[in-house]
Symmetry: C2
Subunit: 286 residues, 2 copies
């Protein structure tokens, strides 16, 4: 109890030093998944201690909750099933992931995509005829499916276009799996940008439209929402850029150097999701 | 004959419009290999028409000749053997490639390299004990050996260092093989820079030291040398940045858009190496 109070003082200090006690006006919470709820890896991965209960408490508090993830190694349905197997209270319609946004861009422009994505994510793109000659590239976190052959095939699609279209499902640098850090989609996006001399269009975090879509879905204003994530730039910086508060957890890919980042300053740091929920619910109940 | 004269007028025009008739004062020629002498690909690859004879004519003209390549898919000795099999007059001591420069950097700083290079290039690094825990990364054109696993292993070495050292043997975007364009080392260098938040140290073209080393080896001044290459930025731009003239061939990775590049303007364009040698020897004989 005493420990809680001390922590509360620390986070309060950070929050109020930014000019307003925003946590008492909170109406909705956006949660990142990987590195906040669980660490991916062998099998279904491993839940982060206290996170299963934290989600349960948040959802029964009356606060609205959405899950905002750049996960693109599998379909949205597969991700939900996996998290439910791990014990999380999560439903398909609460999950915002970049694949639908990528599909929308391709559909609107009447393009034919080359999918540089994880084989398990391909079903999210079933509306497209993949037999047609591709004229754009959609890149996701393909992990070990990032082979030279597939990257080069994507490069050849891009270099063959006058105005290459590269749609990237996120631009993360790396994420944490149970056995260590893993290069994320952003690295391979950067490789293709360099190769083809083009600039990717990023869907998912940190794109403003992605966060605002999730907030709108909760029927609330950005200033009444907080994003809780482990990725300083994509979760916290992205949320803050559209007026949503951002709290960084010290789990997942968090690194001590994040606390002295030159440009992105979270509205609060917490050890993990459980601690974030402790604070938010205390303020919310007041 | 008539065709030659017309061409000569065109190239003369380009050359003299830059203020001096440099080709008459020429003492040495630097030749790129891939895309100028031959196109790599299946087997030993394919010589570019007229190039075998062009090298022969250059070498018997009295002009000094060095081969300046960023080739890092094999050892220098293997490359020379391959080119000799194809019919080129080339010797080991005439070839400048980035591996010796990379070794020198690693050696001087007493580092232990993780080699993200083509398996056939590993013997160039035999002076290092690869069993030691690595504390830097040397990246070359690993081609299909650029797997996710190996890139991620390199990333983990870099992210584990306070000041990550990434030594890149060139920074080319792509090159041409007989069956199409191939992503070059620069793309994967960019991926690792993005992942680890660091900046690579590039050895090989377009590093000034690389060109100046080759010119010094010929015992001449930069202004009396010309670089002939297919890579506008790395061959031509790199050479020009140290006072060496640069002529681009329309073979290899040349693309028509190179002729209107916003910043790099070659001292001449030619259809191929044979045509370049025609002009240079005509002027040299005058």
């Amino acid at each position: 109890m005493r420990r809680c109070v001390t922590h509360k003082l620390i986070i309060k200090l950070i929050m109020t030093s930014r000019g307003d006690d925003w946590s008492s006006n909170l109406q909705g919470v956006l949660l990142d998944i990987s590195g906040v709820l669980y660490d991916s890896g062998e099998g279904d991965g491993t839940p982060i201690a206290g996170s299963i209960d934290a989600v349960k408490r948040l959802k029964s508090s009356g606060l609205k909750v959405r899950f905002c993830t750049n996960e693109s190694q599998c379909t949205r349905q597969y991700l939900v099933d996996k998290l439910r197997r791990l014990g999380f209270d999560i439903n398909l319609n609460e999950v915002f992931s970049p694949a639908p946004a990528a599909c929308q861009l391709v559909r609107e422009r009447k393009l034919h995509p080359y999918l540089l994505v994880h084989p398990d994510a391909v079903p999210d793109f079933s509306e497209f005829d993949l037999e047609l000659t591709p004229d754009c590239v959609v890149i996701g976190d393909a992990a070990v499916s990032f082979t030279y052959e597939r990257l080069n095939a994507a490069f050849r699609v891009l270099i063959g276009q006058e105005n290459p279209v590269l749609i990237s499902m996120g631009k993360g640098r790396y994420y944490k799996e149970t056995d260590g850090l893993m290069m994320d989609v952003g690295c391979f996006m950067a490789a293709l940008e360099y190769a083809a001399g083009c600039k990717a269009e990023v869907v998912g975090k940190p794109a403003k439209g992605f966060f605002l879509g999730a907030v709108k879905d909760m029927g609330i204003q950005p200033q009444h929402a907080v994003m809780i994530g482990d990725d300083l730039v994509n979760d916290i910086g992205g949320a803050q850029s559209c007026g949503i508060k951002g709290v960084q957890v010290r789990t997942g890919k968090f690194r001590p150097s994040d606390e002295s980042h030159p440009t992105v300053k979270p509205d609060g740091f917490v050890d993990n999701l459980a601690q974030a929920v402790d604070f938010l619910l205390k303020d919310h109940a007041q």
